[in-house]
Symmetry: C4
Subunit: 210 residues, 4 copies
């Protein structure tokens, strides 16, 4: 059966690719008045929160794209709710550059808590949107790949079950230990990076040789 | 029959994806001098017109993309007029970030009327461009999907018939009640969101199983 | 025969789509201190050179994309020179936003001549790059669509033969009449818009019905 | 056998296309107060380091895309490591705009060494990432195109073997002769431009005529 979702995936890939690349616009070179090498090197080193925030957000959007890709490999048809759950994911992915800039500006200041709380809070919303997408798709089997097995559907759901509780914990932790909240997020994203290969279901491998 | 319009759709999807993602560049973090948490939280809260304008415009471009998608599922061939009607839609979609920034800056000030009038006025033009696209395609049946029925063509036309009068009303309303004009637009876009599923015509469903 | 150029076209479409959309970033809202409606409306009206420059450049990149599309419909294979002629076109298309910003800033000032000369000068370079692309492709028939006729190759070449002399004339004219140089460019682009349909060669129409 | 990597290539093309186009945002028009033509022409000429940095980086990303394209023509399957080697390439490609802006700002000042060292240092990292990608793919033959020969795999490896040593030399050279380091990079990229055609393997040519 032909996939109805090809143009949705293409549009989503476009939005993810742009959102991930626009992050670099917040890496601004130091605005030093003098041209001395020591000043430049020193200014570059004091920009570390910007590089950290850029790297974190790039990695998080890349993982979101991998997860999105894994889910849409199993989604073959769409309905209105699925279209808008996907639209919500794209909206929130586009937003990431805003708390990234907050993090770059305020990490290491007394306002770090507020910045990290906004940052991790956005990921709580992103997880809710991904859960809405996958529950919409998996509740209505007609939207999924025809030959998919129950075990495969459950396997995908299980892989993402830690998303919401971990991000929620990171959000709460941000109020007492900002750095710890970021470490928790990175730990989850790394887990997803390592387990993403396990989601390649054996029954989806194409068998026709050219 | 092969679709002649594949590269037009790909290019249009690219422009929509970029236009929708660039909106976030106008969400600038507060430029506060001090680093106190209260100052940051207060500055974030006073930015609400920016968040509102960003969300509205993101949603409106997403709906435009869905509508564009629905129309091009029925368009198989192109002529010069269709190419330029589509180019006009892309031009106006790209422009949306400008009145969005106006809205973010002036909503809640004595200039709200002017900002909302420019914003809703752009949507009047966008509707004229969409009407030009669909009337070009539906007047010349050779441009449409070969097996399409008259009922299907009329069904699509009917779904968008409210676009021009509602946006025109919002434009006129903006001069006496700026907030009401925005509510009117959101109501129309929500109607389109809910009815977009109805436009999946039964006779376009692929029947060949892999 | 399979097209070897699919990924080149995809990448080129991406660059054109981004270049055309980034133009809007130079449409900045007026930076007025007070919030009076009269001030806002007045500031908007004095921005007309920005709107003019944006519209001109959007239209010119759209026409470039249409022309690029027409040529690549006939190009099936690639060699190193063709790859880099295409790279040069993308480089120059990306550059357009720079003289567009110059035009927006200096049109209507004593520096209009310099701004329009840079603007039209860029289009002379773009034409040289397009000529390099098409002469590379048409000199080496193995790069073109297998069934293409000599008449079709000449027809495409003829359609673009005015490009270089007209843009060169516009560049020279810019030194004595800046506005006239822009009018000359728009006249050529409009000619291309109207004749682009004529380049759909009858022998490329697919004949297999689904 | 169907390629599993189509969506990865599409996403990568998107990121390359955006990263290459965003470079133009650092070409800012001169911020002169007066509107005299001589001032404008003089300001344009003093911006030459910006034009040089923009051209260099555009050319380098274009070559990276060509190389990426050549490698992925031979890669048919993916595993987790390959996904993340590719993610690392995209991350570093996105970063290029930052040292480009440094180069534009500090080339010709006493800080040129630091700017060129950061610039060439990034290309050392990019080469390590490309080596990781190709060694991951070529060590595990199941990831490659089924019919690929050992000679073809070695040929691709050989073409990129100069990448790491030349960029490392450029990085070291930057500390004593900043201009020389850039010339070394351009020489390598030009070599890759001229040899990229040689990587079209004879056994990958499609033979089925429509």
């Amino acid at each position: 059966m032909e996939k109805e979702t090809a143009r949705i995936e293409g549009f989503s890939d476009g939005v993810f690719a742009i959102a991930i690349t626009l992050l670099v616009l917040d890496l601004r070179i130091p605005a030093t008045e003098n041209n001395e090498p020591q000043t430049l090197v020193h200014s570059l080193l004091t920009q570390w929160p910007s590089f950290l925030a850029f790297s974190l957000s790039f990695f998080s959007i890349f993982i979101m794209w991998v997860n999105h890709h894994k889910m849409f490999k199993q989604i073959y048809r769409r309905n209105t709710l699925l279209m808008f759950a996907n639209g919500l994911i794209l909206f929130l992915a586009t937003c990431i550059s805003y708390p990234t800039a907050l993090l770059a500006r305020y990490y290491g200041t007394p306002s770090a808590t507020a910045a990290v709380a906004v940052y991790t809070g956005l990921f709580v919303l992103i997880n809710l949107a991904f859960n809405l997408l996958w529950s919409t798709a998996s509740r209505n089997r007609k939207l999924l790949r025809p030959a998919i097995s129950d075990a495969a559907v459950r396997k995908i759901g299980r892989n993402y079950q830690y998303g919401l509780p971990v991000h929620l914990s990171a959000f709460l932790l941000s109020f007492c230990w900002a750095g710890g909240a970021l470490i928790l997020c990175v730990a989850l994203w790394t887990y997803w990076a390592f387990t993403s290969g396990r989601l390649d279901l054996p029954d989806e491998k194409p068998v026709n040789v050219p």
